[in-house]
Each structure stands twice: as C-alpha cells, then as structure tokens.
Symmetry: C2
Subunit: 360 residues, 2 copies
C-alpha cells in the first residue's frame, strides 16, 4: 500500500532521530512491500528560520493531506536557537499548541514502562520496581488551561494576569471513551486523575467519566487527586494501567511517569484526533546540548513510528515487527549513551537506527 | 511568656497526633518557663458534626485572637466520615481553603529533606539519594486556580465548567520576597517554577520574580517549567534549595517532593500571613484507615509545633530543642510503623510523643 507521511524534523536532536526512524520505516517498506511518500513540514525553529513564525497555514494544510505525521522534537534551549528571535508569547510552544488545535489532536497517549533490560536506569529502589510497571497516560491535549482565554492587564495600576481552565462534557466524553477503549485492550483499569475537591472543571470531569464508565462494565474505574497521583507514581507505579487526565495534569504527570521509568529516551507518544490521523513524536525534548553529535537515542522516535503504523496506518504486523526489533537490539546488548550500562556495547544514533532496521 | 495557641484537632489521626504535639509543647513550657493557653477550634469533620458546615465565622474569629494555630490533619476518606453528609462542592476542602483565605495565609512553607536515619525508606536509588537533599517548597496558598472564579453552566445544552487562574503582581511579589528571605538563611538558591511557555499568569510570575531578585544579589535565581520540575524531583532532588511556585503547582510538587523523601510522616508545614501569625500542620493527610489505633507518626506534627515556636512565637532556642529531641529519638532507634526498619524499636503514637518530650 501507499501511504503519505508528513515529517517534522524539528529542533535540536530532532533531525537526526527522525532520520533513523525513516531508516527503519524504509526497511519496513522493503520487507512488507509498502510505499511511504514523505512530505517535509516546517514547525518550530525550522519554520521561524524560513517564515519568521513557528507555524504556518501551509504546514497545517499539508499535514492534513497526510495519513499521519512523524515528528522529532520541538524546543530551543540555548539563547542562540531561532526561538529566541521571537518574544516569549510568540515562541514555538505556540507552534506545538497551534498544530494540536488545528489538527484537533485531543488524545495524547503516552506509554511509560520499565524495560527489563534497562532496570539499572530506573531511579526507584529495587523493591519498588521489582514488579515492573506498564502504564499508559491518556492526556487531554486540546482543552483546559493551555487553550483557555488569557490576558495580562493593569487593574488600578496593578499588573494582573489571568488564564482560564474550561472543559465541556463533549470534550471530556471523547477522551474518556478513548481511555476506556484502550483499557479494554490492556489490563482493564482506568484511574481518572483530577482535583475534584476544589475545581468545578474537575467535578464535571469526574461526572462525565462516571457516565462513560457505564458503557464499559468490564473496566475498573478509580479516581485519584492529582497531588496524590504525583506521590503514587513514585511509591507504587505498578498500580497503574491507564491514567486518564486533563491537559495540564497530564503534562506534569506524564513527564514525571516517564522519568520514573528511567528510560525517557525510549518512550514514544501519539496525539490522535477523531479519525485515524495522528501526530507521533518521542516523549523527550530536543536536547540542544547534544544536537548533531550522533549521541541521541533514536528509539523513542522509532517506537513512535511503530505507534504510527499501528494507530494511523492499521499496519499492526509491521508495528509488532518494529517493536520486536527494538527489544532484540536491547537483548543483543546495544545501548546509546543515555541508557548505557556495564557489559553493553555503546553505539551512536546512526548505528542504533541501522541495528534496529537490520533486525526487522 | 504567655502565648495563645489555637488547636484544630481535625479528622482521622488528627486528634491523636495533636495530643502528642501538645505533650511536647507542655514539656517546652515546663523547661523554659512559658505558659501556653490553648483554644480548641473546630474545622473540617468536627465542625460539620456540630455546625453542619466545615468552617464557621466563630472559628475564624477565635483563630484571629491566637498567636498561632496548630492543626492536625483535615480530610475524610471513608464514606462514613462526616464529610460525606455534604455534597462535594460544600466539603471541608472548602474549610481548609476558607481558613487560608480568611486568615490571609498566603505563604505555605513545606520543607522536604532526607533524614540520614531514614534513608532506607527513601524510594530513590542509593546513588541518587547519596548526596542527601534538603529543600523547602514555598507555595503561594491564597491565589491562583484554587481561589479563582468558577462556574458550571449549560451552554446550548452542553454542560461546561470553568475555573480561573489569576495572579496580580502584589500577590507574586510578597511570596517571592518570602522565598528570597528564606533562601538568604539557607543555601541562597531559589528555583522559581512556572509554565511561562504557555500561561500568561506564569509569564507575569516570572517577570515579578525577576524584579524581586534584584534586591537579593547574593541569591542565585533559576527558572524551571513545572513539567520538568516534576522530573527533576525524581532524578536529582539534591539540586534544589528553595522552590518558589504558585498554588496548584506547589500542591502537586510539594506532595511529590515529600514522597520522594520517603518520610512523609516526618514533614512539617507552616502557612503564614504578613504578620507573625501562622497555621502549622503536618504535610501528610488524615489517614482515616489507622485513626485511633495509636499507630500514627506524631513527628510531623511535633516538628510543625517547632516551626510554630520559631516563626510565630520567636522562640528559636525552644524550636531548636524540639528538633534536637526528634533527632535524638531517631538516633536512639525508636520508630513508628511507617518508618520502621530492621534493628529499631517499634513504638506507638503516644510512646513516640513521650520519648521526644523526655529528650527535651
Ligand atoms: C512545550 C509545551 C507547550 C508542551 C506542553 O506542555 O504541552 C510540552 O511540555 C509537552 O508536554 O508536549
Ligand atoms: C485538600 C486540598 C484543598 C489541599 C490543597 O490542595 O490545597 C491539600 O491538598 C493541601 O495541599 O493542603
């Protein structure tokens, strides 16, 4: 089959990790006789360099013509990156938020699990990580505080800034359904995280999640306050299967969860809309400090490509094959610097991509 | 000297841990020849039982007549607790938020540190905790999302709920000053946590914090995004001295930080206003599952009483003595169940209080 894939190389290590993911996708094409047509799309720093803004209508229109978009990492850290040509409120974070909204990517899936082969990197004590853990955070991605009305104004000469957190029942229902659907294919547990002891938006969240749960009698639903969840992720991550939460809580908790695995260089993510379309990117950032040095771990991006095969292109067998190749390369003892440990063979970004492609 | 202390026993284990803190305060009075007059104040479940609401004007007025208030823990977990007589939006969380607002307790200080004696309980790998860590989270407590306007309404038949996050420069300035003042007495580092890449309130936060920093040239200021901070607390807690942040981020991060120490039963907190007045309570919750069983660890409450001696009553020597007594009891090998480890002597709530009082 022929598929159209948009490619956002992004900032920092973005281009080099996306290159390796494409190497693996090329191997998939060869083995399974597919054809992927790639369209380069500009976002973040690369778009600022060319257009002076982080996101253009052209990028959005071209993305819409694709079956899926594969993305490296967006973000600038050094004062020298193109981001800093713009004032804060116009920076590419806006590009990221803008493309999510424009493509209606409301469902952000972030798996966080402990790799047996990488246990040494887990920051938790052995007895806590003993059971292993495997959770999926379902973060609402186009609503809440990050998309609410905001303003900065002077009230009687006093600078005042306001952001708004708003959700309606339809926004909550569609993300809750996604969480329950995915739970049905996993261990059938959903933990919905909110601050319903304080916030109106959280109380509505809880109500609607309860309503949706009625259609999934096999799934066990629990509720947890966000402050408690931030503690539980450290003390007992094994308790979680699917964590369902709103945008900002999901931002904080998914980063915490991915760090708790110790393998943030390994963790993929998918941002989906109501159709098959999705945007796939690693969970980690753009790491400008190691950009262009062949040091970055491309596995998170390669596993994001596997999610793309599965969720947007319905190529389950091919996705399984990529995931198996990643596991095999770990078993064979190859590691990039971020996950290196005694007795393993240290390889660079390119070699890691090649080794995985070879194992398909 | 004679001091007036308000006492909110609270819910769950609240009454029994407050009793032990009073035992220690009585020993302080005896040794240092002070007189403390205690006034019982109702909040949370105890107030619902008597008045049907979690907080009354009477409690607020009586609290205002005191030099400081010592509190157990507020909160109900079991469906049987008095909390559940009220519908969610009227529950005692409102009591807690209400008393903070009424007494203008805008500065919430939550120390989080790794006790040498309790390292075995730290959930982090040995090499991460090797350096030890000792941070203080300064959480803004009377502004932001938890106190903004909120409403739930039907818009074209669709239920919609909205909360508002608002800060003005004065609210930010006063908490920032507190953070810098405290940093001057510590390791002279402030890390201000926000989401300035997205939120207007965070951009103003960052601006005002930068302005305040100019008056403290000796203090090193850094900024960190909240999602990154949730990761750093797990990977490298030793980097932090004072963390300064707004209400909701502080709620999440301070709970995460206290869990990372592994000693949440040991961690105190203070909530202060512009005067010397403050409300002092343990960082942990009301643990209804072990209430009334002489199992709870009273140390967090005893250390909160020490903070009260220091911040509200200016009794530094006495505060030092209480803290030293707590350290001594740990060195002598006494532990409540939550911090028990091999070779130590397990004691109950009351015995722990007595042992500390004896060591004054
Ligand atoms: C860059 C930022 C706007 C973004 C977010 O918070 O959504 C990032 O942290 C993420 O999680 O993808
Ligand atoms: C009970 C709740 C309203 C409260 C808060 O979030 O402020 C609690 O979690 C705390 O941190 O003191």
């Amino acid at each position: 089959m022929n598929y159209k894939i948009g490619v956002i190389s992004g900032d920092g290590i973005g281009p080099e990790i996306v290159r390796e993911a494409r190497k693996v996708l090329d191997a998939v094409c060869k083995k399974y006789e597919h054809e992927f047509t790639y369209t380069d799309l500009l976002l973040g720093g690369a778009s600022i360099d060319v257009h002076g803004v982080p996101l253009t209508d052209e990028t959005i229109e071209n993305a819409k013509k694709c079956d899926a978009v594969l993305m490296g990492s967006i973000g600038g850290d050094a004062k020298t990156s193109p981001w800093y040509k713009l004032e804060p409120s116009k920076r590419p974070e806006a590009g990221l938020l803008g493309i999510r909204k424009a493509l209606n990517l409301f469902a952000n899936l972030r798996p966080a699990y402990l790799y047996d082969e990488l246990r040494a990197a887990c920051p938790l004590r052995d007895d806590i990580s003993a059971e292993g853990f495997d959770m999926l955070i379902m973060r609402e991605l186009t609503g809440g505080l990050y998309f609410g009305a905001r303003k900065t104004e002077e009230i009687d000469g006093v600078r005042t800034a306001t952001d708004t957190l708003s959700y309606n029942e339809n926004e909550i229902r569609r993300i809750a359904k996604r969480a329950f659907d995915i739970a049905m294919k996993r261990r059938k547990k959903v933990c919905s995280v909110d601050k319903a002891n304080v916030l109106d938006s959280s109380r509505l969240w809880r109500q609607v999640v309860e309503e949706v749960a009625k259609d999934y009698p096999e799934v066990t639903l629990s509720h947890m306050y966000v402050d408690n969840c931030a503690m539980q992720l450290v003390m007992n991550p094994a308790q979680f299967d699917v964590i369902l939460t709103e945008n900002m809580f999901g931002d904080i908790l998914s980063d915490e969860a991915s760090m708790v695995t110790g393998s943030i260089g390994m963790l993929s993510s998918a941002s989906l809309n109501e159709t098959k379309f999705g945007l796939y990117e690693p969970s980690h950032g753009s790491a400008p400090d190691i950009a262009g040095q062949d040091k970055a771990n491309p596995i998170a991006t390669i596993l994001s490509a596997a999610m793309m095969l599965r969720y947007s292109l319905d190529l389950d067998k091919e996705a399984d094959a990529v995931e198996a190749a990643v596991r095999q390369v770990l078993k064979d003892g190859y590691r990039t610097g971020d996950i290196m440990s005694d007795g393993c063979t240290k390889v660079g970004t390119k070699e890691m991509g090649t080794l995985i492609a070879e194992r398909l």
